[in-house]
């Protein structure tokens, strides 16, 4: 078997597929982002950079972009704070069948529809909803909580959706740490906190970084959760882009906004690349 032929036959199908579904569509989008209108039907279109200019001329676009990145950073941090201890507990203090069962239980929510989960949160959070109802039943006279349609409600929904990613990636890298290493550290007199911060966290860094990217990127582009849980406070760059495609049908502007967002994501990835490279 010729090496070249082997490589080609292994990778060609996948990369042809990716070219057809990712590369060419993104190029088409890039092309659209420089058009004055969607070239469908009998419309006249011309080349323009107006769609990009709009972003810089109207302050609210950049404000929303910033708001989305802030949301992404917050959701990622909360997921890390909640998920890492969970992964640690699962990987290092639980054994055997229980561990396996718990692991299954954690990945199982992935299998329920994300939309239904978000919708269920609206049932929990909304006025006269399950949370208010149960709290008023336990502590009568607490009154309305007014959690629905607030920024914390969006945070809650997104953290819920993306927490399993962080637990999974952290779990995988913590589980790979040899127990003998930790025992060696203890035999040398290291305390629990020293072991955690000087040994486990650095060794689990690849998992933490992977989990953070897997969460941060989809969150800044999210639109369903803010829409359903955010109400008046649910306008982000993601919802604006979705509007351009599904409600307003200004595809060129939507494409331009998407490319600006993608550019910023790439900039951030680029900024982190020294760290990522060090991990390899």
């Amino acid at each position: 078997m010729n090496q070249r032929a082997a490589i080609l036959s292994l990778i060609t199908p996948a990369y042809l597929w990716l070219a057809l579904t990712i590369l060419l569509p993104l190029s088409a989008m890039l092309y659209y982002s420089f058009l004055s209108d969607v070239p469908i039907g009998n419309r006249e279109v011309s080349w323009t950079t107006e769609n990009y200019r709009t972003f810089f001329e109207k302050a609210f676009y950049s404000e929303l972009m910033l708001r989305s990145f802030k949301l992404g950073a917050e959701v990622t941090s909360i997921c890390l704070l909640l998920g890492f201890p969970c992964a640690l507990a699962l990987a290092k203090s639980i054994r055997g069948r229980t561990k396996e069962a718990l692991f299954l239980l954690i990945i199982l929510p992935f299998w329920s529809n994300a939309l239904v989960r978000i919708f269920s949160w609206t049932m929990v959070l909304r006025g006269n909803g399950i949370l208010e109802y149960s709290i008023n039943w336990l502590l009568p006279g607490t009154g309305p909580l007014d959690l629905m349609f607030t920024y914390p409600a969006i945070l809650l929904g997104l953290v819920h959706s993306y927490l399993p990613y962080m637990i999974l990636t952290c779990y995988i890298s913590i589980d790979a740490i040899d127990n003998q290493l930790l025992e060696a550290a203890r035999s040398l007199g290291a305390g629990k906190l020293t072991i955690l911060f000087r040994l486990i966290v650095p060794l689990a860094l690849p998992g933490i970084v992977a989990g953070s990217f897997l969460i941060f990127i989809p969150v800044i582009g999210s639109f369903m959760e803010p829409r359903l849980l955010g109400g008046r406070n649910g306008t982000f760059i993601g919802t604006i882009i979705e509007d351009q495609f599904t409600a307003v049908f200004n595809w060129p502007l939507g494409a331009a906004l998407s490319f600006i967002m993608m550019g910023l994501v790439l900039l951030i990835l680029f900024g982190f690349s020294p760290l990522v490279r060090r991990l390899k």
Binding site: I40, G41, N42, R43, K58, F60, E63, L64, R67, R126, G127, N128, G129, M148, F149, T150, Y151, G231, R232, N233, G234, T235, I240, D243, T246, A247, V248, F249, N250
Partner: protein
């Protein structure tokens, strides 16, 4: 040798199945594009229609007029009937998305009130591009439990005592037009967009959430998320009749947005005759009376159908009162440039005042 014979035989069989299946489907099925829950997809109505004509009806839905237009543009030859707000009929015709309808043989067309049948938004150069179906108004509805006296002004939406308790539809054109009404401007050509911008900004703290469908409206309303919310007249009667919600639709003294919905046939329609039969059925009094009394509907463009409603029906009493309807401004076609400005204005408003 044998394999080839077998393949031939096999492919022949498939061909037969395809031809039979194809003709079977095309003879008995039409595709309708509409808002969800807006008359054409009532299951009892489709059964009634199938009983009469043997035609099966399949639905596809849209969330906004722009989405409807895009669906027509990107799916030529797929839909047989489409509901178009008359404000957009002219644009659709100009773009070549819909065809002129030959109404001969559609018996119920004769019963349409002439002003709507011949509305210039639906008819161009003597050619009918949309058959007038129903009309209604957009203003707002209140939760009767939250008000001692029903307000009679659109300013109720801006009333600080209901801050954070207002539901608003997430639609740029509607939002700007309601603000225009509050400011006494022409809804189709607002004279002062700056004033509208200010008015909408003042509105933002009032808003609890945005709604996008009738069902969502009902759910938020029943969860007591808002005291009052923008709404459609036909939907308000449905919320009252079908869901028993304490809703009262308000026609404010400043006026309201009026709309006329027509049914059109897309260009390259697969089943023209069946589509025409369906449109004819949709303006039939038999269908309309049942729809309005049992479910709740906007007002029919068919004068005969309206007159067959019970004497106390909302659609008969309110809209026959010419004084009340006098202030209603009907939506007309809008220039692309203006619409773009309006969309941006609305998005800026949505981004404004968030926690």
């Amino acid at each position: 040798m044998k394999l080839r014979v077998f393949l031939k035989f096999f492919s022949c069989q498939w061909l037969i199945v395809l031809i039979l299946g194809g003709s079977f489907i095309s003879a008995a099925e039409i595709r309708v594009l509409n808002w969800q829950g807006y008359g054409t997809d009532e299951s009892w109505a489709l059964e009634m229609f199938k009983e009469r004509t043997g035609i099966e009806v399949v639905h596809d839905y849209f969330n906004s007029e722009q989405e409807m237009l895009t669906k027509l543009r990107t799916n030529p030859g797929v839909y047989d009937v489409v509901l178009i707000n008359s404000a957009y009929t002219g644009q659709a015709a100009k773009e070549g998305l819909i065809e002129a309808i030959d109404t001969t043989g559609m018996v119920n067309v004769g019963d349409l009130s002439p002003s709507m049948r011949n509305d210039p938004k639906l008819v161009a150069d003597g050619k009918t591009y949309g058959v007038a179906w129903v009309w209604g108004v957009t203003s707002f509805a209140i939760d009767r439990g939250d008000f001692k006296n029903a307000p009679n002004s659109i300013e109720a939406l801006w009333d600080p005592s209901h801050a954070g308790r207002v539901g608003w539809r997430d639609d740029a054109v509607e939002a700007v037009q309601l603000a225009a009404i509050a400011l006494g401007q022409d809804i189709n050509n607002p004279s002062d967009l700056k004033a509208i911008r200010k008015k909408l900004r003042a509105l933002k703290p009032q808003i609890r959430t945005f709604w996008s469908s009738e069902d969502e409206w009902n759910q938020f309303f029943s969860a007591n998320e808002f005291d009052l919310a923008t709404y459609w007249s036909g939907s308000a009667s449905r919320s009252k009749n079908a869901f028993g919600l304490p809703v009262e639709f308000i026609l404010p003294k400043e006026g309201a947005i009026g709309w006329l919905d027509g049914l059109s046939i897309p260009m390259n329609v697969p089943n023209r005759n069946e589509a025409k039969a369906f449109i004819n059925f949709m303006i039939d009094p038999d269908f309309y009376v049942k729809w309005d009394t049992e479910v709740g509907a906007p007002t029919s463009a068919n004068a005969k159908a309206v007159s067959m409603l019970p004497p106390d029906a909302f659609n008969r009493t309110t809209f026959s009162d010419s004084k009340k309807v006098a202030n209603v401004q009907f939506m007309g076609p809008m220039e692309d440039g203006l619409r773009e400005k309006i969309v941006e204005l609305w998005q800026e408003t949505k981004a404004y005042f968030q926690n």
